[in-house]
Symmetry: C2
Subunit: 429 residues, 2 copies
């Protein structure tokens, strides 16, 4: 037993200084905070400085659903909760990979015969799965990301130690491969110019550009991954927004994909589960590392060791999503958000600015004609009390663009269009 | 666009061989599968081989709650789900660190004035938080674990690359510090013999030994961490099982702990949330790495970048747990499981075996007098159709012991006692 005086003395000494533990050097490489909390911070700062305007703030920012969960899907969630109060219905730990019936339903309903239930890992969301995929890949792989892209791909690569320091001039991390996705190329990378990487992250419908890859583009991506012997992590979180006939909604519609692709997906955006938390990842059995070991088995190890399954309540909601009634409700939700996207495209038209996305996609990406995206973000917040997202937050390639999110109430979109179209969004620039 | 024939050719070539991606070498170091799925696998294999006995199987194995969630807490979950169906009640993404009111309630209810709400990170469980803490610490720290211990500390250290290979003779990983916890020392390590580590993992009430650290022992632990300038990760997932007066239920009851400790906690075991998923981690502001940077800030970065918040539905359940009615319900649940623990201690008495834990703790750790824990596990499964957990699954120091879990229906504990006390559990050894 340590005498109290010694403890107090040690605590005093400790409080005066730092621990003798070295900070994970990869965390020092990260730039600023994670994007979306930073947006929230600026919004809060504005509201505190302008309390009289605080109530007026409208968000077209973070891609957060706002419509209540419809009846049938809700009944899945409510019954999932109620069951836990009965002896017959109670369940504790489930399989870390998800309930068997949900895995089967996802495989059948979302992939036809292309994916086996045992290849589906149910989780608490796509963002969390990307982090777990990175934990599996480890620090020795080279990752490639679209520029601009959802910041989680970059940030988790940095956190895992796959990258060097950021280059202050380009804003790019050393040892990370950037795939420039410019408007002139429909936001699809010129693959001939992309150096080889071990893992390619690709998102379609894209966040933030709203671009939707065509079948031909996805075939080119798969061909490239196969040629390189690389893994293509395909983020399909917005897939059900695709309404155009013939556009693939899963990478597994592409021949050869089972030999190279992992697909990350989520109920967040189309069933309103952003807060409820439910997603999944598909890892085909065919994927093996260069030593012949199974990628699926390593992902299974991550899921069983560092995760404990998605909430059993929410998994019941997922089952309801995939019922015919649930699918109809999802279609109605998507109609609503795509209607919003049309309004936001109209807003960009009002401003006389080129815009992309908003068709088959909830995001509208607006070309600011070379103006600063953070400055324009600030002006719109200050002058119109509307929160948007600066393109630069998605990487250097996003500079000069602004993202509007259609995940807002209809009235908010109409009001935002009304307000923003009246102001000079480039004021002072 | 890649012509179809080329794609098919590439796919064919790929299917014939492995990817050109090197497996994360740390995953190759892991031994077998994660313990609890392995137990499940053996149980299933037994049931398939002996279908006539399958229905008879009783589990005293994995620490999985079996009692339905009581009324008041359940109403929190059900209302949490129902709210999502209303315009006023709907919420999407919340703060990744948890709802503000829940963080405040945890800080006030579980820690009095010792912890600030901003230091509480709400999550989907203690296991997941340990994995995220490891991601934060990175590969360059030296971790120390109790031997035996909850396998997640070891496995996540290996996965993060903190260790070398396993020593086949000792079963211990190179570069990982083991703190032997033997029955003769009340399962508390002889700290004078423990080499310095950057991070010490310590669990009390302990899984698997059932040992509960005294105030004096916790003071010694804190003193040691302060002396070393190290971080003490204190796993308090079973804290509410402590009924003995004066025994600390949180590391933050110990003077000096705010200068060295992180506490991981969970609603799983006492509110029946093993499947619902809710936990939390406290990182005091005082903790700073050797470069002066804040540990809390780095953990915040992990939580915001690689996680997206616990389910909003389940967080409402957590609020209900901390209401006076919820606390009463939890007390009743704990009474029940502690009653089971007493039956299981009686079973060990019937067998004439020394046993530990089961007081202030849901686990009973039985000394097999030198017999093999996996063999005894198998005999009990085959002869009595009861699933237990072999001590060796918790590390080399657990060999020669068996863990009984009190998280089972009362009748199952009585029936298991009846069955096991009649057989020769060391048959053939």
């Amino acid at each position: 037993m340590a005498p109290r005086s010694l403890l107090a003395l040690l605590a005093l000494a400790a409080s005066a200084g730092a621990l003798n533990v070295v900070r994970n050097k990869n965390f020092g490489k990260l730039q600023g905070g994670y994007l979306f909390p930073e947006i929230g911070r600026r919004r809060t700062a504005f509201a505190e400085k302008n309390p009289e305007l605080a109530e007026k703030i409208i968000s077209l920012g973070i891609g957060d659903t706002t419509k209540p969960i419809p009846e049938h899907i809700l009944s899945g969630l409510v019954n999932g909760a109620k069951k836990l109060g009965t002896v017959e219905g109670y369940s504790g730990y489930g399989a870390e990979q998800g309930k068997g019936d949900l895995r089967e339903k996802i495989a059948a309903s979302c992939y036809g015969d292309r994916v086996k239930a045992s290849e589906v890992f149910v989780s608490d969301g796509a963002k969390c799965d990307i982090s777990r995929l990175q934990l599996m890949f480890g620090s020795d792989v080279v990752s490639a990301v679209q520029d601009p892209s959802y910041p989680v791909y970059v940030d988790t690569s940095v956190m895992m130690g796959q990258t060097g320091e950021v280059n202050k001039e380009t804003g790019q991390f050393d040892k990370l491969v950037y795939m420039p996705c410019a408007a002139a190329d429909d936001f699809f990378p010129d693959l001939a110019k992309v150096p080889r990487a071990d893992v390619y992250y690709f998102c379609s419908p894209n966040n933030p550009t709203g671009a939707v890859a065509t079948r031909a583009q996805l075939e080119a991506l798969v061909a490239r991954a196969l040629k390189d012997g690389s893994i293509l992590v395909f983020d399909a979180a917005y897939a059900p927004f695709i309404r155009s006939e013939g556009t693939p909604t899963s990478i597994f519609e592409i021949e050869g994909s089972r030999q190279c692709a992992i697909e990350v997906n989520s109920f967040s955006k189309y069933a309103g589960f952003t807060g409820a938390r439910l997603g999944w990842t598909v890892v085909p059995d065919e994927l093996t590392y260069s030593d012949g070991s199974s990628v699926r088995d390593d992902f299974n190890r991550v899921m069983t060791t560092g995760f404990n399954g998605a909430s059993n309540i929410v998994q019941e909601g997922g089952m309801a999503c995939l019922d015919p009634e649930g699918k109809k409700e999802i279609d109605t939700l998507i109609d609503y958000y795509l209607g919003n996207a049309e309004i936001l495209r109209g807003l960009a038209d009002d401003l006389g600015l080129d815009h992309y996305g908003g068709v088959d996609s909830p995001y509208v990406f607006v070309d600011l004609k070379g103006h600063s995206s953070w400055d324009t973000f600030s002006t719109i917040l200050e002058e119109a009390q509307v929160v948007t997202i600066p393109g630069a937050g998605f990487g250097p390639g996003g500079e000069g663009y602004l993202r509007f999110s259609a995940f807002a109430p209809r009235e908010a979109c109409l009001e935002a269009r009304e307000r923003i179209s009246k102001i000079d969004i480039f004021k002072g620039q």
